[in-house]
Amino acid sequence: MTVGLLYDSTKCVGCNACSEACKEQNKLPGAVEDHPTAYTYTVVEDHNGANVRKLCMHCLVPTCASVCPVGALRKTPEGPVVYDSEKCMGCRYCMMACPFDVPKYQWDRAVPIVGKCIMCYDRVKEGQSTACATACAYGATVFGERNNLIMDARERIRANPSGYVDAVYGIKEAGGTGVLMLSAVPFGALGLKTNLTDDPPPMRTWQVLSKLPDFVTVWGTSLYAIHWITSRRDEVAKNERGE
């Protein structure tokens, strides 16, 4: 079972209740900013009258978790991708690698950590809905099981084909995400990434990394063999010279 969120841009009125609830839930300092930061995990952006929420997409095969050298980012069995600030050493590879540019950093602190939406893991674990979904009075953000959310999304499109783009954002993007989105305008017009690969990016790295053990064995042996041959040749040459 994987849980997720369904965000319906056509229902969102841009009241920012989700962003404020998120701040409170995660005890983030300061007011809601106009773009996501390490202190504001989610915002609602206005793209020519169409709203879109920015938050972690909780990828099915999360790039951030695959690149973190110390495993500070982790995919939980329930679905949320969580962050352990005690392990993080601040290499910021997660930020560089995330296909959705989600993780943010505390640039202003002497002892900085990463900030990103963790799908209210503490609540979700207990079977509760996320703070943002609970706060949404318009049904624009709903929490549930990913499969049910996909069916729900398709049903909405079927019931109102002229009101939606005929696609659910997040089904295949970067290998699929836990957060799904519906929109009346093309996703690109909402500032969502449209050039993502269908295969999860971690596969590209793994294709190389998984070959390393074989590579090390073969390369090591060949190097030794080369050494053996060249020094043997030297010896033979020496003997022939009668030394």
Binding site: P36, T37, A38, T63, S66, V67, C68, P69, V70, G71, A72, K87, C88, M89, G90, C91, R92, Y93, M95, M96, A97, P99, D101, K104, Y105, Q106, W107, D108, R109, A110, V111, P112, I113, A174, K193, N195, L196, T197, P201, P202, R204, T205, W206, Q207, V208, L209, L212, F215, V216, W219, G220, L223, Y224, I226, H227, T230, S231, R233, D234
Partner: protein, 395 residues
């Protein structure tokens, strides 16, 4: 040796003062960095989480140290014994390069005091994990490979002898770690197919980084022999260095062809034809880093002329630096939706680190048996050295 050290009178030169100023600036910036945060000293941001310290200090520092494993492999594995005299200086460059990388990483990491986390928390899926291990292990191997120079100097001949005996396994381990490390820096960028511009993104990135590092690493060997030669009034060992021109041509030639093939296949040559920002940066990189050195060094007359050889090597190294900056900065800018220009403080740190590394190299060549003794002392006695690289000591 001892006598020589005593006879050196201390005189402050231009380069020493410059180096001291940069070192001071470096210390101040380090202080600011650890009290006010990365944002106070760098132009890094959520859009550009990696900047000059990764693009130049890490990617180039490691790459330019590639001369060390290439030359040690030539001498100890392929038995090309004639290169023996340049083994020590290249190992020293490699070692200093890696130390320089580690210092830069300590500044760049958000919480460098947790760097040991990479040892206890494993994530074999992460290229950064591989990079971290390679840095640690290869720095140790380089230190061991270089240690005989220090041990001999202080008369620990027994231990030095022991390390000499272990040199073959050490060199093999070193070559393997370098192969992994050079290529893994390219693999770091495999994860961003949607962000890195197709002029640079390719599934072959690890191979590209490996081959171009060999080319540039050999270029560095030539350059540093030239620089230290001038500083110590020695002539360029043309009989040794000119033959290095040919592998540079071969390696960079193959590398260039592979790059071209990828660019033709993925259609990104349109950026070159349309002369876009990325296209122009690519042309710059490819012209000075591949075309020019390959053409220059392929011509025998040029290769065997000291000026031609040094120029070719210099271009190869510069082109390499532009390539790494293109991958880490230029190629990522469009996806990030903005430009990144390093702050004055970021640049100062990088320059200071290069300066300090060069100063240490100069000091080491003076006090340790690094260059072949005979040539070294003979010429040095006669010729006063022009101070062309930062040396804490004047003549």
């Amino acid at each position: 040796m001892d006598q020589r050290i005593k006879s050196d009178r201390y005189r402050v030169g231009f380069w020493s003062i410059l180096c001291a100023i940069f070192t001071l600036a470096f210390l101040i910036i380090t202080y600011l960095r650890f009290t006010r945060g990365l944002g106070a000293v760098t132009n890094l941001s959520d859009r550009f989480p990696w900047g000059l310290w990764i693009g130049f200090d890490l990617l180039c520092g490691v790459g330019l140290a590639a001369g060390a494993f290439t030359v040690t492999a030539c001498v100890h594995l392929f038995n090309l014994k004639k290169f023996e005299p340049i083994v020590r200086p290249t190992i020293l460059t490699g070692f200093l390069g890696y130390v320089f990388v580690v210092i830069a990483l300590l500044l760049d990491l958000g919480q460098p005091w947790r760097i040991w986390h990479a040892i206890i928390y494993w994530n074999p899926h992460s290229v950064m994990f591989e990079v971290a291990w390679c840095v640690m292990l290869y720095t140790s191997v380089l230190a061991l490979e270089f240690s005989p120079a220090v041990l001999e100097r202080f008369g620990f001949h027994k231990i030095s002898h022991l390390i000499h005996k272990l040199i073959t396994p050490l060199v093999i381990i070193g070559v393997m770690l370098s192969t992994l490390h050079q290529s893994s820096l390219g693999s770091l960028y495999l994860i961003v197919p949607s962000k890195l511009h197709p002029l640079w993104y390719s599934q072959l990135l690890p191979l590209f980084f490996f081959t171009s590092a060999i080319g540039a690493g050999l270029g560095m060997v030539i350059l540093e022999s030239f620089l230290s030669g001038r500083a110590f009034g020695r002539h360029l060992e043309m009989d040794l260095l000119a033959p290095l021109g040919r592998p540079i041509v071969a390696v960079l030639g193959i590398y260039g062809l592979m790059r071209m093939q990828v660019i033709v296949r993925n259609g990104s040559y349109h950026d070159i034809l349309n002369f876009t920002y990325e296209g122009r940066m690519f042309l710059l990189e490819f012209t000075i880093g591949v075309l020019a050195p390959v053409i220059l060094l392929a011509i025998r007359k040029v290769r065997e002329n000291p000026t031609g050889l040094v120029l070719g090597a210099f271009l190869a190294v510069m082109g390499f630096v532009v390539n790494r900056l293109n991958v880490s900065v230029t190629g990522m800018e469009r996806a990030a939706g903005g430009h990144y220009v390093p702050s004055v403080m970021e640049v100062t740190v990088s320059v200071a680190l290069v300066g300090i590394a060069m100063a240490v190299f100069a000091l080491a060549t003076r006090f340790l048996p690094i260059f072949p003794e005979s040539k070294f002392t003979a010429r040095k006695a006669k010729m006063p050295a022009p101070r062309l690289i930062p040396a804490e000591e004047g003549e």
